[in-house]
């Protein structure tokens, strides 16, 4: 029934091979783009097919084994896939968004040197991400995990001739690697601990069935889950391993949209959801996750307030929203976390693609006017809503969603997270307060972006002012689809408290994901306790916060545009700290990067050049020295040689006689 699940990752892999190996020969941009889009679209079609099949299937958990992989002692690993409601949603999310963004890239990347290379990498990424979400055991997931890290490196460093881009690619990969180390440690510890209890497995279904063998809340589960969480912080850009994501904006905008907004960065959240049984057994870790998530949400939001590059603001916004997802996971609101993952994918991808559309238009105008101004700097924008109406409307819809305005999608998902952070048996009001404040900042900086870009007077240089075009259909079509999803996607997860008011609307998502999460939540008594009226109160507070944030942004950037300047002048040190990302990169450089470089230099100059080379040269010296001494035996006189022969014979005879 589900035997051909392997087709889902296969199609983009084939697309990768074709474009990768033959791309240079094909040369026709339309064909290359079509191959890539068709590959991932086929994957989407198959995903839809299996998803529909799963909807009607009473049995929701299906495993498909494709081939044996590792058999070593007690370790038996197969190439296997797991289709359940969670992975079903994820394959739709990944393949659907990848299709839209690949389509968008056909127009966006027009004229680029490595056109085929871009599309082959995008397909490779889709392959790896699909392997990650469909993986039936931790190693297949890890193959995808590493694969998306690789593609992230390849695509961030797409403009590899630009030093900042290749540096950003390296940074992303290395920081990710630190996280991957944590993931592997967690995996090995888990495998070993379960093995000690007699169950040697890394298959997710078997892990879920057997976690109860480990001590609830004990050291082992805490260590395992913390190590896995370290992996998640690397992949999903949380404190302390988030520094790569803002730099990752060096990559082309479709890359930022697909990888760093909608898919790869959600891998950490997905992993926690996948192993929710394990995580629920370690309340300490969950609290850590919630704290880190909330802290990251607030921290990144503060940095986003002061950035001028449109993509940087969105990058910090992504880090911040991922913080919300981890906050949700940490307080046990698994469904809410996945819900926010989905809505975030919709509106963040739309925001990134929209910003790409704006940058595309600005670039076109500057090119036309032979200017070198930065097309990504918001201080060069303004008033673009008249020039790019479709981009404006879609962007506005997504911004309303991220700010949490009812009844856009972001309102439902973010609100559920905030409610759970307060009301969950594993929640705390401080977590709610931090999350709420971050929501205020989110609404503020997102609308700051909208007002600076689309409203007010046009600050673009005069020569370029009137030449900013709306983007072609191939770019605006994905924007429209995503904006629609961002607007109406929230209806998937209407909370019961609201659904009651509108004629018993069910929480579709919660029911759908119940087979994945319900058991854990039931077992560990994780639920949001509070009356409906309390919930309404919190909802109203969330809305009020969003409106206040938008209001402040309107006052500062529309009504009194000189206010930001006065604010910066009044608090110069604070502004500088926030603008410079709280100097975290410099801190890491001093604490980690430079000492490592120094260690490398020491190892090179002292250990390798002196010690190892010394050893090798020393051997040669010994040989030469002994040669220098021994050559005096070569006198050239036959008599001497004959004498030594005679002496030798005598010695041998003596030895034989004595023995």
């Amino acid at each position: 029934m589900y035997d051909n699940l392997w087709l889902i990752p296969l199609f983009p892999f084939v697309g990768f091979l074709i474009n990768g190996l033959l791309g240079k020969k094909i040369r026709n941009e339309k064909i290359i783009g079509a191959i890539a889009t068709l590959a991932i679209f086929s994957s989407f079609v198959v995903s839809c097919h299996y998803f529909m099949q799963l909807l009607d299937d009473p049995q929701k958990i299906h495993q498909v084994v494709v081939a044996k992989w590792i058999t070593a002692g007690p370790l038996h690993v197969n190439w296997e896939f797991l289709l359940d409601p969670l992975s079903g949603l994820m394959i739709l999310n990944v393949s659907g968004l990848a299709t839209l963004i690949t389509l968008y890239s056909i127009g966006y990347m027009h004229g680029e040197e490595g056109y085929a290379r871009f599309f082959s990498y995008m397909n490779l990424f889709a392959f790896a991400m699909l392997m990650l979400v469909l993986g039936g055991n931790a190693l297949v997931l890890f193959v995808g995990w590493e694969g998306v890290g690789l593609c992230s490196y390849l695509l961030i460093g797409y403009y590899y001739e630009k030093k900042s881009a290749s540096d950003a690619g390296k940074k992303a990969f290395v920081v990710n690697r630190v996280g991957d180390f944590g993931f592997l440690l967690g995996l090995f510890t888990l495998f070993w601990s379960l093995g000690q209890k007699g169950v040697w497995t890394i298959n997710f279904v078997e892990i879920a069935e057997n976690v109860h063998l480990l001590e609830n809340g004990g050291l082992v589960v805490t260590v395992v889950t913390l190590c896995f969480f370290l992996g998640a912080t690397g992949k999903s850009a949380q404190i302390p391993l988030y520094t790569w994501l803002p730099d990752a904006m060096e990559g082309p905008t479709p890359v930022s949209a697909l990888i760093h907004a909608a898919t790869m960065v959600t891998a950490g959240v997905y992993m926690i959801a996948r192993m929710n049984g394990l995580f629920a057994m370690a309340p300490d870790t969950m609290m850590t996750i919630a704290i880190v998530g909330a802290a990251t949400a607030l921290f990144a939001a503060t940095i986003g307030l002061a950035q001028n590059d449109i993509k940087r603001v969105l990058a910090y916004s992504t880090v911040s929203q991922l913080g919300y997802m981890f906050l949700a996971m940490g307080v046990g609101a698994f469904t809410a976390g996945i819900f926010h993952l989905l809505t975030h994918a919709f509106f963040k991808a739309c925001l990134f693609l929209g910003s790409g559309s704006v940058i595309h238009g600005m670039h076109h105008a500057f090119h036309h006017a032979h200017l070198n101004d930065d097309p990504q700097d918001m201080r060069n924008m303004g008033g673009l809503r008249k020039k790019m109406p479709i981009t404006f409307i879609t962007f506005l819809c997504s911004t309303l969603a991220i700010s949490g305005i009812p009844f856009f999608s972001g309102f439902f998902s973010k609100d559920e997270i905030l409610w759970w952070s307060f009301a969950s048996t594993r929640g705390h009001w401080i977590l709610w307060a931090v999350g709420a404040f971050a929501a205020l900042l989110t609404a503020f900086y997102m609308f700051r972006l909208v007002f600076m870009t689309f409203f007010g007077e046009q600050k673009t240089a005069a020569a370029a002012k009137d030449h900013i075009p709306e983007s072609p259909f191939v770019i605006t079509f994905p924007l429209m689809v995503l904006a629609t999803l961002a607007t109406f996607g929230g209806l998937l997860g209407v909370p019961h408290a609201l659904g009651k008011l509108f004629g018993h609307m069910p929480n579709i998502l919660e029911e759908f994901l119940a087979p994945v999460f319900e058991h854990t939540q039931h077992l560990h008594e994780i639920h949001a306790h509070g009356s409906a009226s309390t919930e309404y109160m919190f909802m109203s507070i969330s809305v009020a916060i969003a409106v206040v944030g938008i209001g402040i942004a309107w006052v500062m950037y529309c009504k009194n545009p000189e206010l930001p300047g006065r604010f910066v002048a009044a608090f110069p040190k604070l502004h500088r700290a926030v603008f410079n990302k709280w100097y975290i990169d410099e801190f890491y450089d001093a604490m980690v990067v430079n000492p490592t470089k120094k260690l490398g230099t020491v190892l090179w100059q002292i250990f390798d050049a002196r010690f190892v080379d010394g050893l090798v040269n020393g051997v040669a010296k010994v040989v030469r020295g002994s040669g220098r001494v021994l050559r005096y035996t070569q006198t050239g006189y036959t008599h001497n040689y004959a004498l030594s022969m005679a002496v030798g014979v005598v010695v041998i005879i003596a030895i034989c006689v004595i023995n």
Partner: protein, 100 residues
């Protein structure tokens, strides 16, 4: 009575004389003669023991040694002639190019 011991001692003496000659003499031809002396001493040993043990093998082996000695003498003398043509001398101390 002339016993085996006499033969063995004579043979040993001849061998030693030959060895000393090889190690000491300057003239290459004399060195060759001493080598022949050593070979013949060994021949004597073989004959004596063969007679003493009543086994023909020793005497057969003597034939081998004599053949080898003859061939070796021919080759060695040809070598000497080649050396002399090069260096106008057959003093072994002059053949020392392969030194350090």
């Amino acid at each position: 009575m002339i016993t085996l011991t006499h033969y063995m001692v004579l043979s040993a003496l001849l061998f030693t004389l030959g060895t000393i000659g090889v190690l000491t003499r300057k003239n290459a031809i004399v060195v060759f003669m001493c080598v022949e002396l050593m070979l013949n001493a060994v021949n004597l040993t073989f004959i004596a023991l063969s007679s003493h043990l009543g086994n023909m093998d020793g005497q057969i082996f003597v034939f081998f040694i004599m053949t080898v000695a003859a061939a070796e003498a021919a080759v060695g003398l040809a070598l000497m002639i080649a050396f002399f043509r090069n260096r106008e001398s057959i003093d072994v101390e002059d053949f020392s190019l392969l030194k350090w």
